[in-house]
């Protein structure tokens, strides 16, 4: 009989769609919590794709692709003007 896990301890993939709001509200949004979340995310990515014996291209290229997409999103308001429209 598996022990019932509290909502705030469940992983994101196990949270049902209806519980998403309350799950997000229960997360730790203090600066320390955010820093911890960043650190955990970084460690997961690092240990999965970079800290291996024979690392491939994907580890680095995914980071660069993410950077490209993010910078495109930040500069969209400037790129808007290059659209093919009569009235921008």
């Amino acid at each position: 009989l598996p022990a019932a896990v509290l909502l705030k301890d469940m992983k994101l993939m196990d949270v049902k769609l209806g519980q998403l709001g309350s799950w997000l509200a229960m997360r730790d949004f203090t600066p320390g919590g955010i820093l911890g979340a960043i650190r955990r995310g970084h460690e997961r990515y690092y240990n999965k794709y970079i800290n291996v014996r024979k690392g491939g291209l994907g580890g680095l290229s995914m980071v660069l692709a993410g950077y490209v997409i993010l910078s495109y999103m930040w500069s969209y308001s400037h790129v808007k003007h290059d659209r093919r429209r009569r009235y921008h």
Binding site: I50, G58, R83, R85
Partner: protein
């Protein structure tokens, strides 16, 4: 090491818990460490990283969509997304697109051509690093082994300490014996000297008594010889001499 931490934390945690109903029963309201955690030896690095398809999308995405859409699902999703972005002009085609296309072509060509060589070179560097570390580790182990051997040898040597102590004890016994005999000799000499002195004293006394007595007797005898006796003795001597001379004349 962590188990030691747990062992130290456990009594404090147990004290923090409410007092137990029955003494001697361990109340586990929180699960203690059940796994065998330890920080050493460190597990080795995984051989290969997570799978990434086309260098951009992790394999987990394809596996996530496989049950519902099969093999072509993610590609259909990708195509649909791209067409949507283009048609709605969320992605705008401008001079940057041309630049990006040229750059990406060059990059992909370079990767396809030189990727394997660069990977081999990097692997070689890694191998060397690991080899040096391994050599250091082995050397350390070797030194420790030799140290263990030396230590065992020293322990074996220390077992002979009883012989050493016996030899020392013999030495000391001999010293004591020698000392004793020297003193014995000294005592003997001293006693002999004193006894000799006593003997010499006695002989001297007797000699002196004898000499004195002889002298005294002679003195008295000479005193007792009166002149009358002296004349008589001289006359007797002359008569004796005459008799003797006669007998001597006769003999010749």
């Amino acid at each position: 090491m962590l188990s030691r931490l747990v062992l130290r934390a456990a009594p404090a945690a147990l004290r923090a818990l409410p007092p137990p109903v029955a003494v001697g029963v361990l109340h586990t309201t929180r699960p203690l460490h059940t796994t065998q955690q330890s920080l050493a030896p460190v597990p080795p690095l995984p051989e290969k990283g997570g799978e990434v398809r086309h260098g951009l999308i992790p394999e987990e995405f394809f596996q996530f969509l496989y049950p519902k859409t099969g093999v072509t699902g993610p590609y259909m999703l990708g195509t649909g997304l791209v067409l949507y972005l283009l048609s709605k002009e969320i992605y705008v085609v401008n001079h940057e697109t041309a630049a990006a296309a040229c750059i990406l072509t060059v990059i992909i060509y370079a990767i396809k051509k030189f990727g394997a060589d660069v990977a081999a070179f990097a692997d070689k560097l890694n191998e060397e690093k690991v080899a040096t570390a391994l050599a250091m580790k082995n050397e350390a182990i070797q030194t420790l082994q030799t140290a263990i051997e030396e230590e065992k040898k020293e322990q074996w040597r220390a077992e002979g300490r009883s012989y050493l102590f016996d030899a020392k004890r013999n030495n000391i016994a001999m010293l004591l014996e020698t000392n004793y005999r020297e003193r014995l000799l000294m005592v003997y000499n001293e006693v002999k000297k004193r006894l000799d002195y006593q003997v010499a004293m006695q002989t001297l006394k007797r000699q002196k008594e004898q000499d004195h007595m002889i002298q005294w007797v002679e003195k008295n005898v000479i005193q007792s010889i009166t002149p009358q006796q002296q004349k008589e003795s001289i006359a007797k001597c002359i008569l004796d001499l005459k008799a003797l001379s006669k007998s001597a004349h006769a003999a010749v």
